[in-house]
Symmetry: C2
Subunit: 339 residues, 2 copies
């Protein structure tokens, strides 16, 4: 690899002068600059990050720690969002996933420390409370899609309450009154918040919320889930007073509702409106008809997490609380106003 020294030798100037030119430092004689720049070009000089970091003590590497990427594929968007934000400052991302193993996670934290990462985004796959016990990074950690149990760390999370509200309101505005709800695992923060949002929408619309139409589409515990939305939806749709619309906790659940409806000869959206959550385009755009859903703003969450981390420490105190990111409605063809 070419070093400043080599370029300096070729250009007949001192190392420092080359360094100055590379870094757009104080004024350098135009002629010198031009000559050196030519040599930089020819030799294809690229600064050595390790040396820079050692000298300056400041790192351009950030870490992203995640508990498990595998399960919800579009969480990649958190990574993409983070990278988009880092890119502006020529920073880079070291990615690590613990797959939920505490030993592994401890090892990864050490790795981050070895690389002296400038900050860490801790991304959870599910919106939930999480305790990151990592004193070494106390002041340079941002939680994405989860939040600190004791609220002492900045965190960027989806506005699930409003997301649930959006789902319900969308259907209520279109005249639906009997609305089925197929939920996720109740332990998830998301489930609780969205439930609250839906109730708020019902209350605002002056519609009685029928608890009996709210059922779990997933059984088992986190990590060992079993989807039962197909059966649940089928049951619901065979009842005498069947719902005219179903709110799903996930596009995945919506997918099963589609097949349940099809099995009963009900077509969407004519006989049944369905609204999803997540906007996994792999599903929402593939379903037929395409699924109206509320998007989980993973990209934006990743972007903001880095943004908060890059902010001067002084401002950080302001953002020490949770930052909510809106979940936008994505309108497609799975809902119909009630005649």
């Amino acid at each position: 690899m070419v070093t400043l020294k080599q370029v300096a030798a070729r250009a007949g100037v001192s190392i420092k002068t080359v360094s100055r030119i590379v870094n757009d430092d104080v004024a350098v004689n135009a002629k010198t600059r031009e000559s050196v720049q030519r040599h930089l070009q020819v030799l294809n000089y690229i600064p050595n990050n390790a040396a820079r970091q050692m000298r300056s003590g400041a790192s351009t590497i950030f870490g992203l720690m995640t508990d498990a990427v595998a399960t919800t594929p579009y969480s990649v968007d958190i990574v993409r969002g983070a990278q988009a934000a880092l890119r502006e400052n020529n920073q880079t991302l070291l990615i690590a996933s613990s797959d939920g193993d505490p030993d592994r996670e401890a090892q990864l934290w050490r790795m981050f420390r070895a690389h002296r990462v400038a900050g860490v985004v801790y991304a959870s796959m599910f919106h939930r409370s999480h305790n990151v016990g990592m004193p070494a990074f106390e002041n340079s950690i941002v939680l994405a899609n989860c939040f600190a149990a004791n609220g002492d760390k900045p965190s960027i999370i989806p506005d699930d309450e409003r997301g649930g509200y959006t789902q319900a309101k969308y259907l209520l505005q279109r005249g639906h009154r009997r609305i089925g709800i197929i939920t996720l695992i109740p332990e998830l923060e998301a489930t609780r918040l969205r439930g609250e949002g839906m109730r708020r929408a019902f209350a605002e619309a002056g519609v009685q919320f029928d608890e009996s139409l709210e059922r779990r589409g997933v059984i088992g515990v986190l990590g060992g889930e079993l989807l039962v939305a197909h059966a649940v939806a089928r049951e619901m749709l065979q009842e005498r007073n069947r719902p005219t619309a179903i709110i799903c906790g996930t596009d995945q659940l919506a997918m099963q509702v589609y097949s349940a409806a099809a099995a009963l000869g009900l077509s969407i959206p004519e006989h049944l409106s369905v609204i999803g959550f997540d906007d996994l385009r792999l599903i929402s755009e593939t379903l037929y008809p395409q699924l109206t859903t509320v998007a989980l703003p993973y990209f934006e969450i990743g972007r903001r997490a880095v943004e908060v981390m890059n902010r001067p420490a002084a401002e950080t105190s302001l953002s020490l609380q949770k930052q909510l990111v809106t979940c936008p409605l994505v309108e497609r063809n799975s809902c119909k106003p009630l005649a």
Copy 2:
């Protein structure tokens, strides 16, 4: 951050001695070792990677460059596989995605060089031929899910020919004779190879391959695709002599076939067998009934790519050709033997 110097001062030994203990170097007096180790513990010393790298010239960072992660979500598994392999040697992964923008890609290559990455995995989202014009990494690059047009770089790719063969054979063995095929974009290497594999299976089984039953489920060009599998399947299933089974180029396409079948009152697998490709569990395990499919071994591809890169240069020549990774059949409930 704690340095060797600080630990040495506390322990009353030289820097070098501490270094030796940290690195399990030559014999050190047991008593000294114990004492120093205690101090290392207490001060929570973690070696500075940048300094090590500068001193030794060897980097423990690898790069992963990808053209676009966004589209096919389970490609994350390439990353996971790569990380699994790196983990054994305490190496780490710097991830970059160009989103297909050449300028951005050039910038990312510079970034990799600045970090002096030890090697690069270039992962494409689609199995295809690709030219990585990156002289600086000439000898430390491995292609994953794509291969060098001029064949001068090691590449790890799925064995699509055998994948197609597996799909067809599975159905043929179960007595199916009229088999519909819904394919991907013909420009993809995968499409061509799988087609060949299927023809091979038909030939082996002595069954006439009916070209008229092979249709595109996706129209448009890469990046601007439009799924038409629903319509295509519907059409196919309404013909007089309709197929008893359909082979799909993707689980996503299979999803649309499911809905087409449902719309026509055909139930799976009673009236129609369906086999997919990819094993995106998000789809294959959510469909009802669950989808029998052939898995794209992304994890294994990522793992092997790193493995090849970590191999001593001497052996590299041996693996200069393409390495094919088997696509295993994942049997679920969407196929039935023909009575």
